[in-house]
Amino acid sequence: MSAFEDRAMGSPLRLTIGTVPPRASDGDRAWDTVVTSFEASEAAMSRFRETSELTMFNRMAGTGIVSRPSDRLRCALAASDRAHRITGGRFDPRVLADLDRLGYRGAPMAPTSDHLPTALEASSGQRVLSRFGRHGVSLSRPVDLGGIGKGLALRWSAAALARDATTDFLLEAGGDLVARGSDPAGGPWLVGIEDPAAAIDHLAVIAVVESAVATSSIRVHQWSIDGREVHHLLDPRTGDPANGGLRSVTVAGPDPAWAEVWSKVLFIGGRQAIAGEARSRGLAAWWVADDGTLEMTGAARAMTTWVASEAD
């Protein structure tokens, strides 16, 4: 087994290769592929980098200026726009202003800008981006591509590894992951679902075969502002942190970007709605309520090999 680790997009980046490469240099080459791909994704989509392409577009948002984005950024903006429409507005990358207001700041928008328009201020029917011709794009509001961007970075890196004939690997980026082929023992990749209360290491273990997994959790990004506890998973309908009685939501699916979208949307929907929504969409979803209860859909149960509460 070969394992490589570094940091990218502000999160740990880890590659585990299931089968021993014929040559040691093959593993190094696979890792280089991942690092190069993630660097290109971060250069295009990071809102924390002063020099990123997204920061440049965000600074022009609302001005009507049309620019031509790179293929990665154009794909990310299009995917965000599609996710916004498909989820009925519950996924909206234009929550950047609200994140900024709550103190979760990225790169400054502009030296003179003292007010960023929020997702709420965007009309409900307005698209995330406006297209001009085949390549031109203009943003109506600044956007945050954090979660979906990480999912897309995983998608592109996994595709690059597959092109390099790397067949058995587990690629992780900040809690989200893509699994291909089999683990070093020849079985499915086994992944633990983190306890958001951190009382134990894992609440459950799932077998991941040719799939992606993403988790939206408030375990890390919680802070206080004006005397109240807030977190980074905002409900675009209110502009405030979602408060639906959930601490984390995990979704498994074919694509890491869409797994990330659905984990966030289900989290925002709250504990009352999550079971119906996840089951109606056929999602493999696990969620942890404020009281620490782990629940899951039938599709998720089929992937689950061990549950802490059932083992006690």
């Binding site: 900040g174 086994l190 992944v191 679902i193 061990w306």
Partner: protein, 128 residues
């Protein structure tokens, strides 16, 4: 003189003949619609007779079919009577069962065979 008388007679005869012919033709014309009506009445009668014959045949066929169905109904009624007897027998057997059955105590044993598998990764919160 004789010739003149003969001529007068001939003329008179011809006139009378012509008048008679016209009277006959009028009589024929008056009788023609009655004959046609009598002919149509005869045709209607024939058709009605044919309809009555067909109705009689249909009735005879219905009577035959009814007889067959009646025989089948009798057979069904006989089957129902047999089933009724069986249901009564089953009902009687059910009434003879006790209201409660005490089951023997079962000792419950749980064997923990599943231990937490070793994982390759953890999915959870991300951090910038």
């Amino acid at each position: 003189m004789f010739g003149a008388a003969t001529s007068a007679y001939a003329i008179s005869f011809a006139g009378v003949t012509a008048l008679q012919s016209q009277a006959d033709q009028r009589l024929i014309d008056r009788q023609s619609p009655a004959e046609e009506a009598a002919a149509r009445l005869g045709e209607g009668h024939d058709q009605l007779e044919a309809e009555v014959e067909r109705a009689a045949q249909s009735y005879a066929a219905s009577v035959t079919r009814y007889d067959e169905l009646a025989a089948s109904l009798s057979s069904t009624e006989a089957s129902l009577e047999r089933y009724t007897g069986r249901v009564e027998a089953i009902s009687g057997a059910a009434r003879s069962l006790p209201d409660r059955v005490t089951l023997p105590t079962v000792s419950r044993t749980v064997t923990r065979t599943i231990s937490k598998p070793r994982v390759s990764a953890t999915t959870g919160a991300s951090g910038h």
